[in-house]
Amino acid sequence: MIRYLRLWRQFVVLALVRQAEYRLNFLVSVGVGFAQLALAVLTFLLLYRFTNDVAGWSRAQVLLLLGIYRIVEGLLSLQIAPNLRAIDEAIRRGDMDFLLLRPVSSQFLVSLRLLSPAELVNVLIGIALTICAGNLAGVRWGAGNIAEALAYGLCGLVLLYAVWFLIVTCAFWLVQVETLHELFVTVSLTAQYPVDFFRGDVRTFLTFVVPVAFATTFPTKALLGTVQSRLLPIGLVLAGTALLATHLFWGYAVRHYSSASS
């Protein structure tokens, strides 16, 4: 366990060293993140020009959710996205061979070895927005609801990782996975909105199939004190099961892997 933590720390160091090389890239990442946030805020402002309440959510509450979305999305882009996007290229180029040869869990390596430090800025912006909007929405900041929100958020992150990972593992069989990434990213865009904005069947889909609800809606509701407490154990069980599923599927995929010709 400690070994894996030390290994992860080394990944962080490598990522920082690399990021220092690509300063312009850093600025572009931050710029794009900023632009996307501005776009989302503008969208909501336009939406709320016509009404003060959409599906029971006020403007301040929706901006609070947006802040949380920024944090979650930032964390995904920081740690998960660079790795999952690199899997199919690693397979094509044959780098996967080396990853499978190390005496360390290959799923761990393949999921966590790359980081995008620039995204940390987006996470911080998200935190700032969360605090501002939270105050506007009348959130009573306390250890209880913050911890609850964090728990939901963690479930959501793990679930999103699992779904994305399962999709991407198909890279062992499909030629091009680039657009599968886009499909996942598109669906996870719905995390910007409260699931209550969607119809019943879509809401169920977004809670249990691609669980964006756990990633943003439930943490927001936890902070606001309006979440149903039975959802948390469900979320934890789902997260655990999903993680197990990734482990099993990855093992299966690797067994059928025929590495790129020399």
């Binding site: 632009a35 499909l174 499909l183 598109t186």
Partner: protein
């Protein structure tokens, strides 16, 4: 001869795209999914009884057709051209008898042909799901005018990206500029929210700016929300932008190519 070359290049690009069969269908799914998400949000608002500039019918029509038009006018130059310029990928095309820009046009058309073949069935599925509210013109004239607005839309987007890509001859990182243009342009074109839903004080500016003609204008034509006068002035603006952009293209490309060949990339 040039037409044949273009035809052959397009066919080859179609083949390349078909190779990745799973990928094609998923990309298309994507172009349909995003507008549907936006539509669902606006319908939720509308169903609450809120009065919007667009009724249910118009919202549905707008977002259902959005995917097709957006795809037809799309450009992917930013994925390949700056890199080609930087790393010398332009060279083989400079040696061939057909103008280099043919490669990029054919690549564009090839991709679109394939995308369209998988996009249309999906759009039909979505259209069927929302058929109760879909309001498409029944007479041929609006469709013809709509068809006429599409080439202008395609040209504006293509030329704009061509101009920006030419910066790659002198600037190291053009991708950032292109990304910004892409995000901003999409917003101003009505990709996420119909321009009619923006604050009325901005309508003058929004109607005149070039991005409107890459997406929103064709959709407005189809939805029948434009008067004859508005149609005429719209086409005038669109053609004007095409001309201006085409002129803007020539100088940077000519001098850029000269510099490119001089350094022997």
């Amino acid at each position: 001869m040039k037409a044949r070359a273009l035809g052959r290049l397009t066919a080859m690009n179609v083949m390349l795209t078909l190779e990745y069969r799973a990928a094609v269908s998923v990309f298309i799914l994507n172009s349909v999914a995003r507008p549907v998400i936006s539509l669902l949000i606006w319908l939720t608002v509308s169903d609450q009884g809120v009065r919007l500039p667009y009724g249910r019918g118009q919202l549905v029509t707008y977002y259902v057709v959005l995917g097709v038009v957006s795809m037809l006018t799309a450009t992917w130059l930013d994925e390949t051209l700056p890199q080609h310029i930087r790393l010398g990928g332009l060279s083989p095309w400079l040696l061939r008898p057909a103008p280099y820009v043919f490669y990029y046009i054919s690549e564009n058309l090839g991709q679109k042909l394939v995308n369209l073949s998988t996009l249309l069935p999906l759009v039909l599925v979505v259209a069927f799901a929302f058929r109760a509210d879909l309001r498409l013109p029944t007479s041929p004239l609006p469709w013809l005018i709509f068809a006429a607005s599409l080439p202008l839309a395609m040209a504006i987007r293509f030329l704009l990206e061509l101009v920006l890509c030419s910066l790659a001859f002198w600037v190291e990182d053009v991708e950032g500029v292109l990304a910004l243009q892409s995000v901003l342009g999409a917003f101003l074109a009505g990709q996420y929210i119909p321009l009619a839903l923006f604050p009325p004080s901005l309508s003058g500016f929004l109607d005149a700016q070039p991005f409107r003609y890459t997406l929103s204008f064709p959709l407005e034509v189809l939805m029948g929300t434009l008067s004859a006068g508005a149609l005429a002035s719209g086409f005038a603006w669109a053609s004007g932008y095409c001309l201006v952009l085409w002129c803007c293209c020539r100088l940077p490309w000519r001098s850029g190519l000269r510099a490119y060949s001089a350094t022997g990339a």
